[in-house]
């Protein structure tokens, strides 16, 4: 098979550095550029059409860990609907299933007469390490008046949540948001068409269907304010299965906490660190109540030094029926904790420790 036909009518080959060849090459390059611009215009216009968004309204930032995508776009929609956000709740699955924004706002309003726009940005598997970077991104983009990070002792185990942490911190868009130059991150940030495509980016993978099902399933479960109800009952609750093996509080993770607290220095966003009320029996192997108290004191000290507000846990607050396991709350426990938080925030506001301005 011949590679290239050279019919007699074809012009003779011109040396590549000659004027003729140069003009030809420039001409083709110009066509390429124009064709590319046309493609971009068409695709970006297409994804903004109502009919397209009715078929596939979903978007993604390309994160391996898709729950972040879901929360990000939920928050974007929330802000469009409410004109902004006053309080962002941040943390792991403890927050995701443990705090109901509407309940917090109602409890706050009952004490102060003013409601709050609250969003739950808790994401399963995200410890304080990736969350400290997520906090920076959220504060910079949305300037909430209060960021509440809910923490527990496993946040400071440096072997915990590493996969999610690595995947999160190496994601192109996240790196771009963190200030690194990342070409892919820049394109993702600026191209709505690409964000629509990224939902289906693994369409050539054998796990495509199951991962898409998981994505859509979670999308259905998460409410407009970011809360994901946990319907598990307490009948299988067994604290013996969740007793933590001893580990030291990792200095790197405490540094993450300090980074998060540093976001409050500008004065625009106040930072509150809330200790998650867990079943104290999980501390058995670590030294029991003394270990829990030591953890609490360490975090409290770091928060104080960082200029934040620390809200310790009330160990008697959540009944057994309100838990799906020793750390997580179900749909019975979440309203209790949410009301507690709302009231605490109201008290702090009345004491002028917390300050909100221009609430709607």
């Amino acid at each position: 098979m011949n590679s290239v036909k050279t019919p007699q009518t074809q012009a003779p080959a011109a040396p590549i550095f000659s004027r003729g060849a140069g003009l030809k090459a420039l001409g083709f390059a110009g066509r390429l550029v124009l064709a590319f611009i046309g493609f971009v215009l068409i695709s970006e216009s297409l994804v903004r059409l109502p009919v397209f968004n009715a078929i596939s309204p979903y978007r993604s930032l390309g994160l391996w860990y898709y729950p972040f995508d879901i929360k990000w776009y939920r928050l974007e929609k929330y802000i469009q609907q409410h004109g902004g956000v006053d309080v962002i709740l941040l943390g792991s699955s403890l927050v995701n299933t443990g705090l109901i924004p509407e309940e917090i706002s109602q409890a706050y309003q009952a004490e102060t007469g003013t409601g709050l726009r609250v969003f739950n940005f808790g994401i399963d598997g995200m410890t304080i390490a990736p969350n400290s970077e997520a906090a920076k991104i959220l504060v910079e983009k949305y300037q909430p008046q209060l960021l509440i990070f809910v923490t527990e002792i496993r946040d400071y185990d440096d072997g915990n949540g590493l996969r999610v942490q690595d995947e999160f911190l190496t994601n192109h868009w996240i790196r771009y948001q963190m200030g690194f130059w990342d070409f892919n991150g820049w394109i993702i940030d600026h191209s709505r068409a690409l964000q629509h495509y990224l939902v289906y980016r693994n369409w050539t993978s054998t796990q495509f269907s199951s991962t898409l099902n998981a994505y859509f399933g979670k999308l259905e479960d998460v409410t407009e304010s970011g809360y994901e109800p946990d319907n598990a009952d307490a009948s299988r609750f067994d604290p013996e299965t969740n007793i933590l093996a001893p580990f030291p509080l990792a200095e790197a993770r405490l540094a993450n906490l300090r980074t998060l607290l540093g976001l409050g220095k500008s004065g625009q966003t106040q930072i509150m660190i809330m200790e998650m009320p867990v079943d104290p029996r999980i501390y058995q192997a670590m030294g029991g109540a003394a270990a829990q108290q030591a953890f609490r004191e360490t975090v409290s000290q770091v928060v104080q030094e960082g200029g934040g507000i620390f809200l310790p846990a009330d160990d008697t607050l959540i009944p057994v029926s309100g838990r799906s396991n020793p750390q997580h709350l179900n749909i019975q426990g979440a309203p209790i904790l949410s009301a507690f938080l709302g009231k605490q925030m109201a008290n702090l506001t009345l004491q002028q420790v917390l300050q909100f301005q221009n609430l709607p």
Binding site: M1, V4, A35, N184, L198, N202
Partner: protein, 516 residues
């Protein structure tokens, strides 16, 4: 550096620019007007050699040094061969032995090292872990190239190369070092000495080949590979026969496009330096016979095996058994040649079986055609239309079946074959659940759970099939270069955007032949 990586793209751009700007730099260095041809050629050779070494060093220092030593040793052997009269045969066999020793010693270390380690321990020694040998990339290719060089010099079919820099480029040429094609010294060295000037047409051709290579490798091969279940070649009996058959066919297309894609890339990259490489694939799935298949698949290796194994063996047989009607002339040469091919690809009974199967195919084909009237060279025997249409399918099926031992060790290979032929493994598709899923009442996990084929496979197999068909019908590898400029530009944009979008998925699949 992989040939499809961004780093390689940057490396290539720099290499090409400096290579062709030799005239510019030499004028400034030597204040000569214009730079004379010898100096310019020396510049280009030197720069190309440096680029080859840089490419190898990006993989490993050990690989670069090992391959350099092999190349230099063969250069010296070639010099000795050309000067030596009485002991030429001895020098030739020493050279072949050296190259085979390097190949066996380095490539098959995993096969014999455990035995050596056990022996050392049995003799009271300690295994310090130092007995590890890493196989340099491209070793199988450079070894056969060097053997062909020495034989050609011995037969006086090629002149021994006197420029050691040029000879090192012949051995270590970075576009082809990973996966070929296997170049003959007698054709490659003259091309290296006189590279073609870069014109608009040759540049278009080179870029066109790179484009075809990227489409085959990145879009088709990588995607097909990602669609194969991870445990397919480990526990095949988890899957019904109809899916095993489809995935095997997909694997066949994957292997072809992966390798052919790399070869096209290599030729395109080399074209940017004005050096043509041998075409290594020519629509092999259009082959009418098994012999025809090997004239279209890995053409450079087939030609090497034909010239250095098949023909010498056939000649030796005729000397010993002059009766040309004897069946041994039909049976032995193809069997031995394909067995050697199998062993070149890897040591193992499975590889021997793979090569042996292809040998058997060719033997059976020849035996069946023994009474067919001979036709003049260049003419094909008249066959009914239905046979001409059916033949490529038959060849494809048997070639694809032979990939089973190629891909797997014997035990899982036998399980795969059992999975294909056992009647009990042909399972009815689950249309009931499919109906529920299409009605939106259930969630789809994977279609394979319903014993149904994945339609995505057909997208990429269809694309591969279309590409081959157009190339075969138009007898033009780069048929798209004749498209109108705007359509070609739009096509380029679609291909580049497609590749970019696919890059967001976890599709990384290695070149299959890179380990050879």
């Amino acid at each position: 550096m992989s040939l499809t990586s961004l780093n390689f793209g940057i490396f290539l751009l720099a290499a090409v620019l400096v290579y062709w700007s030799g005239d510019f730099w030499l004028k400034r260095i030597f204040a000569a007007q214009p730079a004379n041809a010898t100096r310019l050629q020396a510049w280009r050779s030197g720069w190309l050699a440096a680029a080859c070494m840089a490419f190898l060093l990006s993989w490993s220092i050990q690989a670069a040094l090992t391959l350099l030593v092999i190349a230099m040793a063969n250069f010296l052997l070639g010099q000795v061969l050309s000067k030596e009269e009485k002991r030429r045969s001895l020098v030739l066999w020493l050279g072949i032995g050296f190259n085979l020793l390097a190949l066996v010693g380095l490539k098959y270390a995993g096969f014999y090292l455990p035995g050596v380690t056990a022996l050392i321990k049995a003799l009271g020694g300690q295994d310090s872990g130092a007995l590890q040998i890493l196989m340099p990339i491209g070793l199988s290719f450079i070894s056969v190239q060097m053997i062909s060089y020495l034989i050609d010099v011995y037969r006086r079919q090629a002149k021994p190369e006197t420029d050691w820099v040029r000879f090192c480029i012949y051995g270590l040429y970075f576009p082809k070092i990973l996966s070929g094609p296997i170049e003959r010294a007698r054709t490659f060295l003259p091309r290296l000495a006189n590279p073609q000037p870069l014109t608009d047409q040759s540049l278009a051709r080179a870029l066109g080949l790179i484009g075809v290579g990227l489409v085959r490798k990145v879009i088709i091969a990588n995607s097909l590979y990602a669609l194969l279940p991870a445990d397919l070649f480990v526990t095949p009996l988890n899957y019904p026969a109809q899916l095993l058959a489809l995935w095997l066919a997909a694997y066949s297309f994957y292997l072809y496009n992966d390798f052919a894609g790399y070869s096209a890339l290599a030729r395109g990259v080399s074209g940017l330096f004005g050096i043509e490489l041998t075409q290594n694939f020519n629509t092999p799935f259009a082959a009418q016979t098994f012999s025809d298949f090997w004239n279209r698949w890995h053409i450079s290796l087939s030609a090497w095996l034909r010239d250095y194994i098949y023909f010498p063996l056939a000649r030796a047989l005729r000397t010993r058994i002059p009766d040309s009607e004897h069946k041994i002339h039909v049976i032995l040469p193809p069997l031995v040649t394909m067995a050697v091919s199998g062993l070149w690809h890897g040591v193992g009974w499975n590889m021997l079986l793979w090569g042996g199967l292809h040998g058997v195919y060719q033997v059976v084909e020849r035996l069946l055609n023994l009474n067919t009237p001979r036709v003049a060279p260049g003419q094909s025997p008249a066959k009914p239309g239905w046979r001409q249409r059916l033949a490529p399918l038959v060849v494809f099926v048997f070639v694809t079946l032979a990939w089973i031992p190629f891909r797997m060790e014997l035990k899982p290979a036998s399980r795969y074959l059992a999975g294909l032929i056992l009647p009990s493994n042909w399972r009815m598709p689950d249309f009931y659940w499919l109906k529920l899923i299409l009605g939106g009442w259930e969630q789809l996990s994977e279609l394979s759970a319903l014993n149904l084929p994945d339609p995505r496979l057909f997208v990429f197999i269809g694309l591969a099939f279309w590409l081959d068909k157009v190339q075969a019908d138009r007898k033009q590898e780069l048929f798209f270069l004749e498209w109108r400029p705007w359509i070609l530009a739009a096509g380029c944009v679609l291909v580049l955007v497609g590749m970019y979008l696919l890059s967001f998925a976890d599709l990384a699949a290695p070149f299959v032949y890179q380990g050879f």
